[in-house]
Amino acid sequence: MVSPSASNSLVGHIPDLRRYARSLTGDTWAADDLVQDTLERACERWQLWAAGSDLRAWLFTLMHNLFVDTARRAIRQQAGQRVDVDDVAHELQSPAGVPDQAMDLQRCLLRLPPEQREVLLLVTLQDLGYEEAARITGVPIGTVMSRLSRARARLRDLMDGRASAAAPASPALRRLK
């Protein structure tokens, strides 16, 4: 029997889901769409959720599945017309008042392959354990570790400006296979 607690509260999770989605998609509107889709899917599949298990983990799992679907669709649509993140960087600008460093970080994050970005954000932003990140993304823990390692190395290169020279036209949206 699980006692009522804030960690189980639905509304209490929304700010957390929004922040994660915002960091994942780099865009406020896309983030809120993703959160809304997540809540709707939760609504459709409520019976599949084992009452008493971790509500937050379940919501993040649903969000992961939706995010992957969206990323795949985007790739199919982009098949003919590849978009470089740098070309659309002006659309990714954060609102005024956001420190430059955070904007750079967000922009570099978007240049990581989606599956690496996801693992990195689950482990850092959400402070989840590796096993939990593995359950949410539906991959073995070894895969989580190697994605995490690649994400960290690549993000570091991007932030230091080393990767832009090495891969000037890396189409970030094309990277999920």
């Binding site: 009522p4 700010p15 915002r22 809540l39 955070a102 932003l125 590796y130």
Partner: protein, 269 residues
């Protein structure tokens, strides 16, 4: 793709676990020993730690701004489904918690006021709120001794203050909103001892939660109030009384931001 299938060497996996705080004390010491002799690994760890901190503090505004109405609407639907489902399950566990949290949190605008007893604010309650703000103002700028007992000794802190206030206290967890517990202290109040818990975010901004018994004017008096808001000298405070016990959350935050935190506190008590 199958770069993913290559397993990470154990010694590198260990460095990640170190940065992410997933090691026990003995493992940490062993990694630290290794880092002292491996400049290359030490440099990577330093960069990853910095990166982790930057990621942890990405988009903090999303945690404090009000949830958009269409998302609350979607949550309401989910809640309705779940509560119907829960009736079969005789309100088993979680679903009831979802309902409870929903009832309390919906709209982020104190819709639940109607659910709670509305009552006149007595002088004792006003005095309580005033003392909470004063205590906040006194300890807010304190650098060396912001608290008497630090968060590291949370169990002791809770036991001690519960004993002094003659009531089992709970320390709400505000870390999802970015505020970590600093610790707590004991303070004098009108009706005996009061306690103050202090929280701080990554930017060093502090909020305090002030709790304690509030005297009731009559035997069957109003021992409950709705959520109330006050500002005094730039310090905003939400306060309420529940079963004769007062709570006041104070900080130099915009009203909406403080409300999110106050709701979170309320839900956890």
């Amino acid at each position: 793709m199958n770069e993913d299938s290559q397993l990470l060497p154990d010694d590198e996996a260990e460095l990640h676990a170190y940065v992410d705080g997933r090691l026990d004390a003995a493992q940490r010491r062993s990694v630290e020993h290794r880092l002292a002799h491996d400049a290359d690994a030490a440099e990577r760890v330093r960069a990853w730690k910095q990166q982790r901190h930057a990621l942890r503090t990405l988009h903090p505004e999303m945690l404090l701004e009000p949830v958009p109405a269409h998302l609350l609407q979607a949550a309401l639907q989910l809640h309705e489904r779940s509560s119907r489902f829960a009736q079969w399950q005789r309100w088993g566990g979680m679903a009831a918690a979802v309902l409870l949290a929903f009832g309390l949190g919906w709209g982020g605008n104190m819709q639940y006021q109607g659910m709670r007893a509305r009552s006149a604010v007595t002088p004792a309650v006003l005095s309580f709120a005033n003392q909470a703000v004063k205590a906040h103002a006194v300890y807010l700028p304190e650098v060396r001794h912001p608290v008497e007992v630090e968060a590291a000794q949370q169990q002791h802190l809770v036991q001690w203050l519960s004993k002094r206030l003659n009531r089992q206290l709970k320390v709400p967890n505000l870390s999802p909103a970015g505020y970590e517990l600093v610790g707590g202290r004991l303070l004098p109040g009108d009706a005996g001892a009061r306690a103050q818990f202090m929280y701080q975010n990554a930017a060093g901004e502090r909020v305090t939660l002030y709790v304690g018994a509030v005297e009731s004017p009559s035997a069957k008096g109003m021992d409950e109030t709705s959520f109330r808001f006050t500002t005094e000298g730039g310090i905003a405070s939400f306060y309420w009384v529940d079963q004769g016990f007062g709570y006041a959350l104070a900080g130099k935050l915009p009203r909406q931001g403080l409300l999110v935190l106050a709701e979170s506190v309320y839900k956890q008590l």
